[in-house]
């Protein structure tokens, strides 16, 4: 149980750092928020001790704002390709930063991030496996963010 608390804390710090430093988005922790139609899902896996995966579920409005802030683009000037690229990079940074905060003495191998635009709304959950998964929900003035970390066998 102690390890999962350490994971939760490191993941939270990582998310705040990445969103504030790179995307100029300030998040507030929130309870479970249903995400509307067209949610962006960006995920990445890491292998080491421990191994696992991290998935970001980003509301469409927040995803567009992240692109505009990162690339200094105007409203309406954001392409689907920009969104995919930024979401993948966000997953990559959240994961790498989390692992560094969690244990900088261990070297992890990261996969190439994946992206998909989900049809229909979603409600993220840790699947009831509190021991092996962490779910963090956030709210911003552009929409919600949910992050799910699942531990895997090394």
């Amino acid at each position: 149980m102690k390890e999962i608390q350490k994971i939760r804390q490191a993941l939270k710090i990582s998310i705040f750092e990445v969103f504030e430093k790179m995307f100029f988005v300030f998040l507030e922790p929130a309870e479970g928020i249903p995400l509307e139609e067209g949610v962006c899902r960006a995920s990445i896996r890491y292998r080491g001790t421990p191994s696992g995966s991290i998935a970001l579920f980003v509301a469409p409005g927040l995803a567009e704002r992240m692109v505009r802030n990162l690339l200094l683009k105007d409203e309406g000037d954001v392409s689907e390709r920009d969104i995919e690229d930024c979401m993948k990079e966000a997953a990559n940074m959240v994961c790498g930063n989390f692992l560094r905060i969690f244990d900088s003495s261990v070297t992890f191998d990261l996969t190439i991030p994946e992206f998909e635009r989900l049809v229909g709304g979603v409600t993220t959950e840790a699947g009831g496996k509190e021991k092996d998964a962490v779910l963090l929900n956030f709210q911003s003035d552009s929409g919600a963010l949910s992050v799910v970390l699942e531990k895997m066998e090394s």
């Binding site: 690229d85 790498g96 930063n97 560094r100 990261l110």
Partner: protein, 146 residues
């Protein structure tokens, strides 16, 4: 004096961000070449003169460390300073990058000032254009957890 730069990152968004930061920093940049992975970067090097390389580590086809090794092993490219910009910041991975010959290391997420500082350190110029010598000490490492 102005410099030709190459940014190697599989994320087009990240390449754009880094390019904008360098452009806005006042750094004297002439050409800015881009590559999506190490193999593409080697191809750019075979066709163009490049003064400084900024490279990600986690990339498809040829990752940043393998690319760095290929640059260091090449008679014509080995002198080109390479700065790694990566989310992968474990002590061992950073040391591995320096052992492979990286001249700087910047952790993502980064602040624009960090890129500017390491870039100037690596090329050996001050922001006012004065030359202060090309230090062999790795740049950016003072902020890392050694």
């Amino acid at each position: 004096m102005s410099f030709n730069i190459m940014i190697v990152d599989d994320s087009s968004a990240m390449r754009q961000v880094i390019k904008k930061i360098i452009g806005m920093s006042g750094f004297k940049m002439d050409q800015c070449y881009e590559a999506g992975h190490g193999l593409e970067a080697l191809s750019v090097l075979s066709d163009h003169w490049v003064d400084v390389i900024l490279s990600d580590i986690n990339m498809p086809r040829m990752n940043g460390l393998e690319f760095l090794g290929r640059v260091r092993d090449h008679e014509l490219y080995r002198h080109i300073p390479v700065i790694m910009i990566s989310t992968e910041g474990s002590t061992e991975r950073v040391q591995e990058a320096f052992d492979h010959g990286a001249r700087g290391f910047i952790k993502k997420p980064f602040l624009p000032e960090e890129i500017k500082k390491v870039l100037y350190q690596v090329v050996g110029f001050k922001e006012d254009g004065a030359y202060e010598g090309n230090s062999e000490d790795p740049a950016g490492s003072e902020d890392l957890d050694f």
